[in-house]
């Protein structure tokens, strides 16, 4: 099975979310999976789809940063010194949706272990105790990836008829906008934080695990147009971002 592999330079949060949604529509229409890697500029806070924008007041360090609402669930993420991936998979791949968390997280686990980092995956759903933390990286969920006690990779999904979008954030280093959350460089000093190295290793192991063959690709003109429309309709719009 051939699958698209897109590596983008850093872009605004609204553009990144709009592109992910445009790729989701393409996957549903064309039946081709796509793996994309990207970063965010400027540093931006993304809220989980069901989070209230008022919850931002709980987190002083990121209060003045740009922010938006993601199409996916979970908690807030400070996208600063991190690498984001997105994976869109057509429904024709009949894997239970939760198993995509496992596939992507286990692939990064293998790359981390190759780099000498003692990482692990949370296999069980931890019992809920009290209201969830504002930040995704202070929450514990099934399939989350940890180094020591610190979560390094968290993912979330948007499911729709025809395809599934999963995206997630791999923390490379601590951000001044979320000083309570360390990244890889803070707990495994000396390990590379070069994003191209991680992209190459991660995509290569995923290719092997899934039996796919990634080919380098770009966002098509039609997808760019769709993303521009989605920026206006949703990710740059107060109607979307302030809806809760």
């Amino acid at each position: 099975m051939d699958a698209r592999l897109i590596t983008n330079t850093a872009a605004s949060g609204s553009w990144n979310m709009a592109v992910d949604e445009a790729l989701l529509e393409s996957a549903a229409r064309q039946g081709v999976p796509c793996l994309r890697f990207y970063q965010w500029h400027p540093a931006t806070v993304s809220l989980g789809y069901f989070q209230s924008h008022r919850d931002r007041l709980q987190h002083a360090a990121s209060l003045h940063a740009p922010w938006l609402r993601r199409p996916t669930g979970g908690g807030a993420i400070v996208h600063d010194r991190e690498l984001t991936y997105s994976l869109v998979v057509p429904d024709t791949f009949r894997l239970p949706p939760e198993q995509w968390y496992r596939q992507v997280h286990e692939a990064l686990l293998a790359v981390l272990r190759q780099a000498g980092v003692a990482a692990r995956i949370e296999w069980n759903a931890p019992a809920r105790s009290g209201p969830p933390s504002f930040l995704c990286f202070l929450r514990r969920g099934r399939f989350d990836l940890f180094v020591g006690q610190h979560k390094m990779l968290g993912s979330a999904q948007r499911r729709r008829r025809g395809a599934l979008l999963q995206h997630g954030s791999f923390l490379l280093a601590r951000s001044v906008l979320a000083p309570e959350v360390p990244g890889l460089a803070d707990i495994a000093p000396g390990v590379s934080t070069d994003v191209q190295t991680w992209i190459a290793g991660w995509s290569s192991i995923l290719e092997e695990r899934l039996g796919w063959r990634f080919y380098p690709d770009e966002i098509s003109d039609m997808e760019k147009q769709k993303a521009a429309d989605l920026c206006e309709l949703r990710y740059d719009s107060p109607l979307w971002n302030l809806r809760r």
Partner: protein
Amino acid sequence: MPEPEKLWYTETHEWVHLENDGSQQIATVGITAFAVEQLTDIVYLELPKVGRQLEAGEEFGEVESVKAVSPLYCPVSGTVIAVHDDLPNHLEKLSQDPYGEGWMIRLAVRDPQPLERLLTYEQYQKQCAEGA
């Protein structure tokens, strides 16, 4: 509410109960026990407002479970006449009584309904057994 055997179903795991109320047909809609089990831990639910016009196959709400947001699809076309507003605060009802207290919306059905798009209980059971 009638037993699950007397309901209609969608391929996307919604159920619908159709009944006649005078000259009007009323549809009550929810999600199936299979869907609730597959979604595992539902933490948020959003439902539409009364008065919304919906087409069969259109999204009428959304749920979040295990950090995944999933749409709910309307089985029939019509106007929303009642919403189970209390349900998002009592999500346990979805697993305890998905075909009764777990109802989500009621619609005044717009005629004629394309019922051939819906599944019978037997057809839906077969779909679930096949792992769809």
